[in-house]
Symmetry: C3
Subunit: 346 residues, 3 copies
């Protein structure tokens, strides 16, 4: 659907420069945008491309605006403005209410009139599917699970029995909510006795869960994910973990059981978080780190180890293996020098 | 179902203190347990909460027992005792035998009378499903695969053709048993030629496989997982790996092809294990480590790198990048001191 | 099917030694091969087993050939030769064209006559399924997605709407192609605003994607995976990543958004690649490393940290935590020595 630049300016809280009546239909990348597109400059690195853009309009900072002769929306934060415009120009497809004939919906389940249960999905006994919910193709909702209004389970997502998903959540393809936690005690003969995992997973509102991410149900209490938490793909959340509101985790993060993570934390990709620790609010952890102990927020923590040319790496690593010895040698050297100096002074 | 404390004492090999006739229905967390619940103190950290617990009964160590005025089961290992009690009070739901009409079961497959094949499941040609087995919603059992007695495939789990699952195994939602191994040879022109992956995956008895975990089939021989092995979520097991009885691996571990891992090993989360190495029995590897070479057991191995405040980390890391140079400088200093000292002695 | 050794010699570009008329039916491991099997020696480590092999024929290097009294194919690269032979003796099972009655195929989708859509699969509106394609049990092909000739989606694989898969690709069980990228901007009040993910995933020809691997769709442009790329299991590829032809990545690798990776790269298991960086052609990264910045190829990069006995590790790690201080102390020592020496010289 076409929008006038003037109307998008309102959406984006930006100022029109040029013709506010010009219409655009879609967003596009800076270098590929045409007359019916609106684009933006994502980074100063791409600044040189602004002048040559064929876009019908650009979203630009006041500093960049001079570089573009065409129509523009000028504002301090083009990325945010562009996100808002993209939502208006490309609203998520509304899935019409349906119960696909191939879906298996238990007679005791409650499915709201406006919900869509798509092909091959399964909704088990006493599950509750709220208004506007979409249960994607092949997705599974376990017994007594509750899916809040306007939430969406993508293809083959699974929400296991008794778990709760809040409103406006997105559970990406293949994600598993409520698998059994990894809880065992070791018998005297070495065999593992499973500890029954009797808790649930409770997701707040506006939670996004990435593709093939797994969140285990609690052992006794619940695993709790706060409102507005965003989890990327292939993340593992152990049983009884608590994640505070607005925290975001990038791909391949692992959080071990019973960790308590604060609000508005930013956990970069590949990071591991130890079990049973407490992470304060507004904590940031850099990529591929290992948060082993509790930390207070706000703060930024790291054990990232950036790769180097393999030979240089091997040389330094070889020294690292003898670092304790090296430190002892330094200590001896210091002692010897002290003796030399004291000898000279006498 | 209600149990008398006296009967649970037998289950837990514990001693009743107080009223053995009191009945409880369920386990609960220490702080939320009521009169019909039994709870325990998981860690000395929670000791202060014992006195105020409203639980009908607690499982306690002799040392902690004095802190609680109510009924108690006293034993040296409350965690183990509590696990046994939880199994009795919360037995896994028995799924009644069924072949759900939406399931697709090949005419040549063998499904035991007591097995349950749930909604949207697929059982391919000549597969064998043992007594008491549950094939969960949307799960797939490939051609000629064998699922042993009382094993459970959870929602959307996949066991590929010709693979074998032992008895009493649990394959969690989304897990993939028997995908093709990552085996290629490089042609002279740089293209990859796939090496046909002709082996199977063979799981022993009592193996648990976590959600979205993947175990690749062998290239020529089999990938073999021993009895009682417990694998957490999002683990990758490469082709031809062997894992010994009773070994446990936490989430996000990766084991590269042809590694041979011993019995009763404990591999903590996020760890990588190199291909073609041998790991002895009773080896422990700490979280987020990289086991690159063969090791004998028993032993504990680590390359965990705990995160520090980002600035301190950066300073130390900057030095690490010059560690080889630093070691050389130390050596020169030591030489110089030797010369100084030998000069003085003359 | 049986082949004469003489014919397999042609396939493998090898020289027959012994009886070229002998027939074999199958490949087998060196130690388990019988009279109707052909085997090879995968590594010098197994050389001692050659002499005792019961195989009908072996593929051997000229150096190893003397150790075996039986029939042999002699060539410089037995692994490559063996892979070619395995392809001939064990061709992939041809799945006969079918549209399984339980599959849900939208009336507007195009499914080629020679394609097979297996049990419980879903093909959504306007999707295009090419000749010879196999859509495995429970797999999902989204609206307008295109699956190229002779490609195979294994059990429960998902290709989301509008994505493109080239020819002869294999999408392993549980893999998700085209989930939404992890793109958000933070509102002033701390909440995350999703950036609509409007791009696609475009896979070239001959791409293999491992089990439960996830490849996110682009935000504006596309995520692009070049011809012949091989991805192992549990890999995460972020939005707008580009991967050059022939690059291979082992299990558990994570590539953050907008990274551009060159041709013929080898990325070992567990490695993380930072977003928005550029990796040249023919770059190799060792296992469990973190490639944080752009690098030019060819070259080999590493931040692998091999595990050591835990106590030795702890000692060195303790020193690492004070490495900056240690370096400063060394500097002071050097200064002091300089003063001592200059004092002596006066």
């Amino acid at each position: 659907m076409a929008y006038r630049l003037r109307d998008l300016a309102d959406v984006a809280q930006a100022v029109v420069r040029g013709d506010g009546e010009v219409e655009v239909d879609a967003v596009a990348p800076l270098t590929r945008a045409g007359a019916r597109h609106i684009a933006y400059c994502a980074s100063p690195r791409y600044r040189a491309q602004i002048g040559a853009s064929q876009a019908g309009a650009l979203v630009l900072t006041p500093e960049d605006a001079d570089a573009f002769p065409g129509n523009a929306l000028v504002c301090p934060d083009p990325r945010m403005a562009f996100a808002r415009i993209a939502h208006v120009l490309h609203p998520p497809e509304r899935v019409p209410p349906t119960r696909h004939p191939s879906a298996v919906i238990d007679a005791s389940a409650t499915v709201a009139a406006s919900a869509a249960v798509l092909a091959q999905a399964v909704v088990e006994a006493e599950a509750i599917i709220g208004e506007g919910v979409v249960i994607g193709p092949g997705a599974v909702v376990g017994a007594r699970a509750v899916i809040g209004e306007d939430s969406r389970l993508e293809a083959r997502a699974v929400v296991m029995h008794d778990c709760q998903v809040g409103r406006r959540c997105v559970i990406s393809p293949g994600a598993v909510i409520g698998g059994e936690g990894f809880g065992y005690v070791r018998e005297r003969d070495g065999r593992w006795l499973k500890v029954p995992q009797l808790g649930r997973v409770v997701l707040g509102d506006d939670v996004d869960v990435g593709a093939n991410t797994t969140i285990d149900r609690g052992a006794l209490g619940d695993t709790v994910v706060g409102d507005g938490v965003k989890l990327d793909n292939l993340i593992q959340i152990g049983h009884n973990v608590k994640i505070g509101e607005g925290t975001a985790m990038a791909g391949c993060v692992g959080v071990a059981g019973s960790a308590v993570i604060g609000k508005r934390c930013l956990i970069a990709g590949g990071t591991g978080i130890m079990g049973h620790i407490t992470v304060g609010d507004d904590v940031e952890v850099t990529a591929m780190s290992f948060l082993k102990g509790s930390v207070e927020g706000p703060g930024r923590f790291s054990s990232s180890l950036p790769a180097a040319p393999a030979e240089a790496w091997a040389r330094n690593l070889g020294r690292f293996r003898h670092l304790d010895e090296l430190a002892r040698r330094l200590h001896r050297v210091e002692q010897t020098i002290k003796q030399i100096l004291s000898g000279r002074n006498h």
